[in-house]
């Protein structure tokens, strides 16, 4: 897939014509063999199922159909330009008895879809095969008529050839010209015809053979996304508890301690009591600062009020190093999960950078392309950041995945570090 994307358009077309034609030309005989083999086994199996012997034959038909399905799944992606995943086939539990094993493939829905494909795909392939062969023959035969037509005996003067019917003269030159024109028409429409008649059986195959697998993949993708969300939330809550414990809670305990001391001192040494109360006031202010920072960390009020550009600008101005921010000021309000996640990517990346990178400058870039919001944070520090478990970035990766996005960290030792998150946004 990557080569076709990088190749120039003419090469791409030629490759596609080749792929589509080969798909149909080989597919037709394969489909015939599949039909003959599977349909025979299936009918024999079904008609003799009353005697127990029919059952293994039927199972044989299912396995034959599965083999042809696997072959088709290998061939389909070249035509439809997307993977044709193999569904999870039902497996017998370990230690299952003979009968249980025998019945397992029959209880699998996909087995019957495989059978359906093996028995009916030849119809589509036959149609496709006729068109593709006709078009290739028409194109090749027509444009090469200048070479071979002269060796074909001139037609009986009584016969009504196409050039006569069209009112052209009955000369070799006229016949060559007409054949060449027809050949060119076939050649020009060849890409369209091969495309259409390859897509027809290929889509039929994809839907029947990989439709279930695509649903399964989607479900497991969603399951991963949900697990990430749960894990990100647990991490965030643990961190919040720790931040509260290490920050405001400690300060309040110390405050209580100091006030207790002050009360004691009041009786004996009022001057010392005054100093202690001064200190306690200082503690109060610092506690408030810490609480403010904490609440900003949980749900930054400016993000909710003013949106991503203002919130990121505020974040960048609070940074420990100069941060260059590039974001479209007219970016509309996005879904809260996208805004929040984008904000925390930047916040976490900047916090990480301040702690570990020794960077002197950083740049934050936010762009929206094709329904995705790309957030990039770059710094000129020492690098070596990674997403290992327990690292701050691991929690961030979970958070991004929970929003259906991806996080990549490129941070070679020696720098620079590039952290990039892509989030889906409509």
């Amino acid at each position: 897939m990557t080569q076709t994307r990088t190749a120039s358009p003419p090469v791409r077309w030629l490759t596609q014509i080749g792929v589509d034609s080969a798909y149909v030309l080989f597919g037709f005989p394969i489909a015939l063999v599949a039909y003959v083999l599977v349909f025979t086994l299936f009918t024999v199996g079904v008609s003799t199922i009353i005697t127990v012997a029919g059952l293994p034959v039927l199972v044989g038909a299912v396995y034959a159909a599965r083999a042809f399905a696997d072959l088709e799944r290998l061939r389909v992606p070249g035509v439809v330009h997307r993977p044709a995943p193999r569904p999870e086939y039902r497996k017998s539990p370990p230690g299952a008895g003979f009968w249980r094993r025998l019945f397992t493939p029959l209880r699998d829905g996909q087995s019957w879809l495989d059978l359906l494909h093996a028995i009916f795909s030849w119809i589509l392939y036959t149609i496709s095969f006729c068109f593709v062969v006709t078009w290739w023959a028409g194109a090749l035969g027509g444009i090469s008529s200048i070479i071979w037509l002269r060796y074909v005996p001139a037609p009986d003067p009584d016969s009504k050839d196409l050039n006569i019917l069209l009112g052209l003269s009955d000369t070799l030159g006229a016949r060559i010209a007409l054949n060449t024109v027809i050949g060119v028409v076939f050649l020009l429409t060849l890409p369209l015809i091969t495309r259409a008649f390859a897509l027809m059986p290929a889509q039929f195959g994809r839907v029947l053979l990989s439709g279930m697998a695509e649903v399964q993949n989607r479900i497991s993708g969603l399951r991963e996304q949900r697990d990430s969300a749960v894990s990100a939330e647990a991490t965030a809550l643990r961190r919040l508890e720790r931040d509260i414990h290490d920050g405001p809670q400690q300060r309040l305990v110390r405050l209580a301690m100091d006030l207790g001391r002050a009360r004691q001192q009041l009786a004996t040494d009022p001057e010392a009591a005054k100093a202690t109360i001064e200190e306690a006031l200082g503690q109060t202010r610092e506690t408030l600062d810490e609480l403010r920072a904490l609440s900003r960390g949980i749900a930054p009020p400016i993000l909710a009020d003013r949106g991503l550009p203002s919130a990121l600008a505020a974040l960048a101005s609070r940074g420990t190093v100069p941060v260059g921010l590039s974001i479209d000021e007219t970016l509309p309000r996005l879904a809260p999960i996208v805004e929040n996640t984008a904000y925390f990517v930047v916040a976490e990346a900047l916090a990480n950078l301040a702690k570990h990178s020794q960077a002197r400058a950083a740049a934050v870039d936010v762009v929206r392309i094709e329904g995705r919001l790309a957030v990039t944070v770059l710094d000129d520090g020492v690098g070596g950041a990674h997403m290992a478990k327990g690292h701050g970035l691991a929690g961030l990766a979970d958070r991004v995945r929970a929003a259906g996005g991806t996080l990549t960290v490129d941070s070679p030792v020696g720098g620079p570090t590039v952290i990039r998150a892509e989030l889906p946004c409509e």
């Binding site: 300060r251 301690m257 207790g260 004691q264």
Partner: protein
Amino acid sequence: MRVVVADDSVLLREGLVRLLTENGHEVVAAVGDGPSLVAAVDEYRPQVSIVDVRMPPSHTDEGLRASVEARRKVPGTPILVLSQYVEVSYADDLLADRRGAIGYLLKDRVSEVAEFLDALARVADGGTVLDPDVVAQLVVRRGRDPLERLTQREREVLGLMAEGRSNTAIARVLVVTDGAVEKHVKNIFTKLDLPPDEEQHRRVLAVLAYLRG
């Protein structure tokens, strides 16, 4: 008294050191993690140690495990554990060796300086001091049936006993005479089938053993 202080928060460590120094105690070591606590207790043999539950490296119940370890190395060394949270299971760990000279208080109690210093002295003397919140949770956990045989007043006395207070102290809190407290205690011991014991900390342990089931 010679005291070791263990708390990873510099803020609280400093606060405690000041408070203790101002009240005539000598802080022989102030450390910030579990292993240093064990080492300090082993080296200085303090009369009492004040230990925070949550400390590095594990940031969980490091202080508890270090306390148990320190008491294994220096048997019976008095330890007063301070915590932001009250967890009965922490108290269980501390009381497991039944040696006394142990305390478990919420950090906030430090602000009642006189009471805190009193509790510290009791622990140093081999007594057992539990936070009222821990006792309350123990009473709840014990279930109601046998405790239902106690009168309201007797239940109050039981709670105060579990906190590690002497008859005199209980009498002062409840504003009754020593004799009245003694009578309540005797009734409690009879009703709960506890062995009567004159010695203060053995009596507390008996009550706690009963409450912990």
